[in-house]
Amino acid sequence: MKFSALSVFLQGLKGNRDWPAQWRTPEPKAAYDAIIVGAGGHGLATAYYMAKEHGMRNIAVLEKGWLGGGNTGRNTTIVRSNYLWEESEGIYEHAMKLWEGLSHELNYNVMYSPRGVMMLAHNIHDVQVFKRHVHANRLAGIDNEWLTAEQAKEFCPLLNIERNIRHPVIGASLQRRGGTARHDAVAWGYARGADRLGVDIIQNCEVTGIRRDASGAVSGVETAKGFIATKRVGVVAAGNTSVIMGMAGVRMPLESYPLQALVSEPVKPMMSCVVMSNTVHAYMSQSDKGELVIGAGTDAYTSYSQTGGLHIATHTLDAICELFPAVRRLRMLRNWGGIVDVTPDRSPIIGKPPVPGLFVNCGWGTGGFKATPGSGHVFADLVARGEPNAIAAPFTIDRFRTGRLIDEAAAAAVAH
């Protein structure tokens, strides 16, 4: 069914009882042309574009839990493209352009809201780094501008720019096209789109092994629902990537860390943009439900626990209360964690490990939601054609051997 104003109206008359299921719940076939492991936003987008743009209809997405239940459904939904290096600008801006038309593309409201993302500078080092980003972005044709503290306050009246706080705001950079999108809707929209093109999305189907033939090439996957044959496997499993790649004997330059977020009780609209601060490590925006969505940091140690230390979250709240005194008396409703896969240079890996038929898209770490459409789009191209396109090409695993790192530690210094 296609969603339209008319369909919403007619279903409304019937008490919304007759909406059809938005995707099937198929049992796995014995074999597929390609299998994507992980039904997060990136995996679902990959399958969608493989079907839509490369005509691959005999494919499946395998998910150990429920679709969108990983980092996709746990993230704070910040979308922006003002990274430092050309390689990053290439992929994040590619994603940004796709965000702009995504609701129409999918016939699904992903609630992309370009409300502006403002990053605060608190010291001279921040000022230098952000101005460098502003200039680099403008050279690449990507919007990003420098604001004084007063202009920052004008853009976000909630902000405290008093000089007498522990880390005073002395300026900010602003990407007006940045903003937020509804995380669940992104997973659901891509799932529905892929399903309609014939992709089998199989939930509760953990991949437990990767089978290889005598030549070493991939011949299928072992799963909770039995063996499934395929010659092409695309791993898009975020925090669990090292574990799955280990099944094929591949070591990865990754470490998995818990990253937390929390939301307040819902209140009337009080904040119309996103504000981030690397230095005090906090960021905040307001959801359409009215909750303030707050991002905290990663724990120091690697973990798969999907939870994090309380001191990490309270540390962030200290900073939030100083930057936004108006929220001091709000209660926090929920706090949760996700497991993010971090690379040494804070840039993703979109590549071909040395196992024929195996592909991997990972390392998005604390900031991959924003890339979802672009990541899926270029990874679909890689899995379908076997070779990376120009946007994906710099993000090889081999860069850790050659030294051609894409260092975005400054852009990604805050977990977002």
């Binding site: 090292s242 574990v243 070591r251 330059p253 120091a300 140690y301 626990s305 309380l310 040494p344 850790f400």
Partner: protein
């Protein structure tokens, strides 16, 4: 927050007294000139990142200041054992989750 037993102070103390130091037993190649690019990349960047028992370094930064190692289950975050720097990784069996 983790409770970590410092093997030097012989006390369990809150995580805030410690600093994490990454995977343990990652030895710097003794002869860098004779080390291939692959080996060097593996030493610098590739990590085992297991879902299960992980040997890792900690430093009792707000205590005795010394480095030591711990084996922790990365699913439950429970520390199975801590031991002094320079000691071999103790035998541990299976996951304790």
């Amino acid at each position: 927050m983790l409770l970590i037993r410092c093997p030097y102070c012989e006390m369990e103390r809150p995580e805030l007294e410690f600093r994490y130091g990454g995977e343990a037993h990652v030895a710097r190649p003794l002869d860098p000139m004779a080390t291939s690019d692959d080996e060097w990349a593996d030493y610098l960047y590739f990590r085992s990142n297991p879902r299960g028992l992980h040997a890792e370094r900690w430093r009792h930064i707000n205590g005795c200041g010394r480095f030591f190692n711990a084996i922790r289950d990365t699913v439950s975050d429970k520390i199975v054992v801590t031991y002094k720097a320079g000691e071999a990784r103790p035998a541990t069996t299976g996951e304790i989750a």
